[in-house]
Symmetry: C2
Subunit: 293 residues, 2 copies
């Protein structure tokens, strides 16, 4: 079978990027030649040791030779990397990124796109709390969703190719507008992370006695929050800032709901308390049915 | 080896109680005779089918014949059950409970204790989101903590026996005051549950489109919150109400911390954002070292 692309370049082979490379290497169906590009010599050295790319480079001109260039750097650096590789990309090739916040990224990059090059970003809703080339694995995207956010008027053939790429990685795909994407991610990912970071911070600020106890007795609830709170600080800082509007809006609703729950507890309103708890259970049940739990 | 107790009665063989019975049945070291008591005929029928008790009864007078009576009912019902069994308990026996909030329970029951009976409550910091006799398993308490909260002046021999009981269940023990216990549990267990219930509620109140998307794309953070949000509503309502003072105090601190995080995001204060995230990571690392992650 002919691979989907003659060559695929991953710029930024971290958790996501190195997982794509591993999958492509294992299956052989995604690209004939795999290129890994990064500005960090230790990262490139690690990619070489892991043997997950055919070509390893720090040169944007080499990266741009691929007929699909996938930018997997933190949200805040995507635009700059796109500007660099677009200088060299050839007509008929596709630029994509995996940025977890869209904001103005789509329109901005679309506006600087040379004739004949498509820009079809897609955000795989998968991850762990680990980062770097060692953190990746080839099954990371299995049964997960990749959210495609192509600019209006994108070439349908290019969209179909990026869909096929994610399907070959094991993921299901859905196409959304930038606004829908950012709203949804604020709720399912950014707000939970913000709360997880904050509850750890609250625990950290308690008296030494209570703080020590929290560490000893974390089993009953607290530790479920800390797993996601172990994630990369710079990546999450960038995400919070890039999606600040949708995130702060969702946080406002959450704070209002928390205040109602606190009022119900203060006033001993049993029905209001159990009502909220019941809704949590219903959502959990649906998640299990949807194989997302 | 002679078992720790001649007979042990579990009143309320749910997740915790049936796990103690399973452990006692499997090891034979905890009690010679196992009694299960409950007011619900279907629960007693299920205990009979599971074959985890020698005697099954709905009669407090039968329950009270054990030389250790362990009350495993929801927090709000402990006092009433204690009053019933204390009418029949014999001198030299021990009453214990596993209530996850102490509040005034200790002093209240201590005050009605007949001569010669010890009251040594202990709260095992273990659980799952499931409930009922089928939810229990014999290794539930392994490597977890049981927090003993004996009233002042309790018989040291009775304390040692309840410690031994939890050690035989696989748990480590620590002795705390009622106030320490409730403060700690507010932080490590009650606040995380309150937030988990509330974030599910917030998701539930969104537009149908976003709500459906939340269910589809829960993988990246949201679902970690929903596991604990699947817990029993009545149990948690009782816990929130019983520990309302410590819980609302801890929630206030959390809300203030969340507000600071929101302000840092609104103002683009990168250092403040990463500072909070770094603290979350540090706590997570310590949890892993403490084998609680």
């Amino acid at each position: 079978m002919t691979p989907l692309f003659k060559s695929l370049c991953v710029v930024g082979p971290g958790l996501i990027g190195s997982s794509v490379l591993r999958r492509a290497k294992e299956t052989g169906t995604i690209a004939g030649t795999l290129i890994a590009a990064d500005t960090s010599p230790p990262v490139l050295e690690r990619v070489r040791e892991l043997d997950i790319a055919d070509v390893i480079t720090s040169d944007p001109a080499v990266a741009a030779q691929a007929d699909c260039v996938m930018i997997c750097v933190p949200v805040g650096a995507v635009e700059e990397v796109a500007r660099q590789v677009l200088l060299y990309m050839k007509p008929g090739s596709i630029l994509t990124d995996v940025a977890s916040v869209r904001g103005q990224l789509g329109p901005t990059i679309h506006a600087i796109l040379p004739e004949g090059i498509s820009y079809i970003p897609g955000h795989p809703m998968a991850g762990t709390e680990h980062s770097g080339p060692d953190a990746g694995f080839s099954t990371l995207f299995e049964d997960r969703w990749a959210l495609l956010v192509p600019p209006e008027g994108s070439d349908p053939e290019a969209i179909a190719k990026i869909e096929a790429l994610w399907n070959l990685c094991g993921a299901r795909t859905k196409t959304l507008s930038d606004e829908q994407h950012d709203q949804i991610c604020a709720m399912v990912s950014h707000l939970p992370h913000l709360l997880a970071f904050t509850i750890c911070d609250t625990a950290d600020n308690l008296s030494d006695e209570i703080r020590a106890a929290v560490l000893d007795y974390a089993a009953s609830g607290f530790r479920d929050f800390t797993r996601i709170a172990a994630s990369d600080p710079v990546m999450w800082r960038d995400i919070f800032l890039a999606n600040r509007e949708a995130l702060l809006g969702t946080l406002d609703r959450f704070m209002a709901d928390t205040q109602s729950m606190a009022d119900a507890i203060r006033n001993g309103d049993e029905a209001a308390i159990t009502g909220r708890i019941e809704r949590g259970r219903a959502i959990r049940r649906t998640l299990i049915e949807n194989r997302q739990a």
